[in-house]
């Protein structure tokens, strides 16, 4: 038991890899470095798939790229509705990022979504986008007025929602990734062979991708509500 607690604590702590020596030292933690790796992979894939695009006589590579982009776009656009369509690129990027971040644990990296700061940052970005979408669509006056809808008495609850929404987004993603990670560790401790492989299919791959989907779904639901 003590051994397990120790190894869990070691995984939970996000160590500082190095420090940038400006402004009195900025700590770069492990999750940031893994995020850079994911970014590099995503940019590389986008670069390879996005070269030499043509209108007619498309190559196989371009066909693959078009399929991926249209599939992801149509998935997100179905959730945001026609008004929120301009936020699709951001949502798709977050979807791909969280998806890769959740399954990168399989390749021996520490997944960045296991760091509470990363999920908190994602949730704060989401809520800023949601409120911005509301202001951009309706103007400040109508946006403020929306807090008193449908009746004036719910105003405190509506204001509270601005804070509870990112909190629940952040905690849901973090808790799910951490939970599946801990369960995988426990299974590996009890049965070290074969069984972890089967469960890893569910906990690492299915659950990780599902949580990415849920995060983007909720964000787009909020955006849809804000621009309505």
């Amino acid at each position: 038991m003590g051994n397990l607690t120790e190894s869990l604590m070691e995984e939970l702590n996000c160590e500082t890899v190095f420090t940038i020596p400006i402004f009195g030292g900025i700590d770069i933690s492990e999750s940031v470095v893994v995020t850079w790796i994911i970014m590099a992979v995503m940019v590389l894939i986008a670069f390879i798939l996005g070269r030499n695009l043509r209108i007619d006589h498309i190559s196989k590579r371009q066909a693959i790229a078009e399929t991926i982009v249209t599939k992801l776009y149509s998935m997100v656009e179905g959730m945001t509705g026609p008004e929120g369509m301009k936020y699709t690129p951001y949502l798709v990027t977050v979807l791909v990022y969280i998806g890769i971040a959740n399954i990168i644990g399989l390749f021996g990296f520490k997944s960045p979504t296991k760091d509470l700061n990363v999920t908190a940052a994602l949730a704060i970005m989401s809520i800023i986008l949601v409120e911005f979408a509301g202001i951009y669509q309706h103007g400040v006056k109508k946006w403020l007025h929306k807090f008193t809808e449908p009746i004036a008495i719910v105003t405190p609850i509506n204001i509270l929602e601005v804070f509870t929404r990112p909190l629940s987004l952040c905690m849901r993603l973090f808790g799910n990734v951490l939970g599946s990670f801990v369960i995988m560790k426990l299974i590996e401790m009890v049965v070290p062979i074969f069984l972890p492989t089967v469960f890893s299919l569910y906990f690492d791959i299915f659950d990780g991708l599902l949580q990415a989907y849920v995060f983007v779904f909720l964000t787009s639901l909020y955006i849809k509500e804000a621009v309505d």
Partner: protein, 74 residues
């Protein structure tokens, strides 16, 4: 002290009860819906998976809190 910590963690995990009941009800209703309208299966299963993922969150919160109790208090 250790016993109390274990009991506290156990109580925190009780939150999983709600998630279990919720997912059970959702799956039952989804089965009914598919039986009534088999052609809408794709839409129903998509909604079901999403609902389950959301209902699961309560269980996850309980689990995280139990874990924190064990790790922080020891």
């Amino acid at each position: 002290m250790n016993t109390l910590i274990a009991i506290g963690a156990g109580i925190a995990v009780l939150g999983g009860l709600g998630a279990g009941i919720g997912i059970g009800i959702a799956t039952g209703k989804a089965t009914e819906a598919v039986a009534r309208q088999p052609e809408a299966e794709g839409k129903i299963s998509k909604t079901l998976i999403l609902g389950c993922a959301l209902a699961e969150a309560t269980a996850i919160y309980g689990f995280v809190i139990a874990l924190m109790i064990i790790i922080m208090l020891q």
